[in-house]
Amino acid sequence: MHTWIKIAVRNLTLNLRRSVFTILAVAVGFAAVNVFGGFADYIFAGLRDGFIYAQGEGHLSIFKAGYLTEGKIDTARFLISAQEQTRIRRIAARHPEIEVVTAQLGISGLVSNGQISTITLIEGRSFADMQAMRARAGGMVGRLEFFTGAPLQDDVLHLGGLSSGLSEKIDSPIGSDVVLMAPTVEGQINALDMHVVQNFESPVQALNDMISLVTLDFVQALYDTDAVDTFSLLLSDTARTGAVKTALEKDFAADGLRLEVQTWEAMSPLYGKVKQMFDIIFAVLFVIVLAIVIMSIINTMSMAVMERTREIGTLRALGLKRTGVVRLFAIESALLGLLGSTLGALITLVAVWGIRLGKLSWIPPNFTTRVPVLVNLIPGDMLWTLAFMVALSITVAILPSRKAARMNIVDALGHA
């Protein structure tokens, strides 16, 4: 085996220029795939952490069955009563991987600045719970605040925030007072004063001129209820999302609760779309890289085979089997793939560090602050790419070398 590697290495050095260009093609392809993959991974992680931690939506959302489709119109039918809330919290407590359990209530109503009023979705949250979620975020994106102004507090009922579009629409910037109006569960009109202390961007751009954010107690007082419509659960490990979902569904059913459990992937409005888009871009990039790598290796290996046809004839005369000839060129090609991938890994490292040092930043959709542009280094993916490149190189080398190995030996020997 050693002999064949030696012959392969020496032939590669003999045609140094050609080998270097092929290795570069593989390396650039390797780096392109991995840098883009690392960037996509960083973006996905950002969207995921933004949704789960920064927006405080958690890994799992629980609501009455059917709430997602009909709940926004007829909230009253899908309320989770105080007694059910206790049962849910008790069941959640049985799962150690659930770290934060928080309730939400959202109703629709009107917001008025005294002169004009407009429709609004009033979201009630526990800000202590949201803070607890944010504190558990691993990445920096999860700890970002999405608002401008002051934070909200659970124990100061009349402080609230408006989405930036809404604030503009009713001409009520930070520091102004508004009135929130909504029918109670019983159907009577109720109204409460709110002091605007913050603005934020809505995760769904279409709702950016509609949302008011207040404490859970505020909404419950306005709606005259102690019920909620959604529970958000934060887990210790994102990878456990599916397992906990299944376990909870079983537990709820056993307890007679007709509840629906959804994962963050299903709930996040952006994640799925962005992932789909990136997947398509990645597929296109991958096909281009694949084509370039295959063409350059095919070119190099067919030239090598052609130039060394007489040598192949000699080796066959000396008793090398057809498979031995194929193996010789497969080794040579595999080395190109291996060296190219190694160089590609180096280029990837340099690119990742360069981007880190360059301190690039951008404002992603729905963010109010700049976040750094980074590329995640994914060793597992790089190993896979390497294995793939080597396998590809070998496959590509088999075609021309097999043809030469099957040639009539006398013809091969007579080859100029």
Partner: protein, 248 residues
Amino acid sequence: MLCKGDPEMARKLPASEDHRASPIVRFERVTKAYRFGQTRVTALRGVDLAVDRGEFVAIWGPSGSGKSTLCNLAGLLDAPTEGAVWLNGKDAALYSDDQKSRLRNAHIGFVFQGFNLMPVLSALENIMLPLQIFGIDASAARQKAMACLAEVHMTPYATHRPARLSGGQQQRVAICRALITNPDIVIADEPTANLDSAAAKMIIDLMAEMNATRGTTFIFSTHDRRVIENVRRKVLLTDGRIEDDVIV
């Protein structure tokens, strides 16, 4: 003695039972035709020939008479169009390609007109190659190859690549490579055609010496009458037929 036989190479192949009694190579009404587009060229026309163990045979004749074709068939590099080539008492047509490769590796040595050394390997490594194709480990192969090099007075050139050797030196390395596996027969098609007359004489003398000391059978072709003056058996080919087969 050059490259002494060793147990490893001794159990190299299942040859037929009575191969010691039969000729090493036997041509039985061999015809070889090449198809070149529409035209058909007949290079050998019903050749009968038997070469016994230990013989030193020169195939000579004018250009185009079929010498190379005969050598290629004897070396199992090609198959006859009609008739049969027997090696060690067995019809070569019965072997698979892999079996023929194995046979060439262990039982047949080749010396080419153009030397055909691997350009990326040193003289020593070139000689080791057939042993390594056979599967013998590098250190044993190196030892045997060094002994061969010494035998042909090429020890100082062991690490030289072919490009840095003269034609005569390259051909001496090639003879070592052909003999390293202790083959039954060495096929040399025009081994001296690319050499000046002094080097040519030295190569023929070297082959004759190996034939005498080790009993290795040689078949070599040439169109140069001068190099075959002292050869015992001369086969004259003209137009694909054996015109004369003299044993002195």
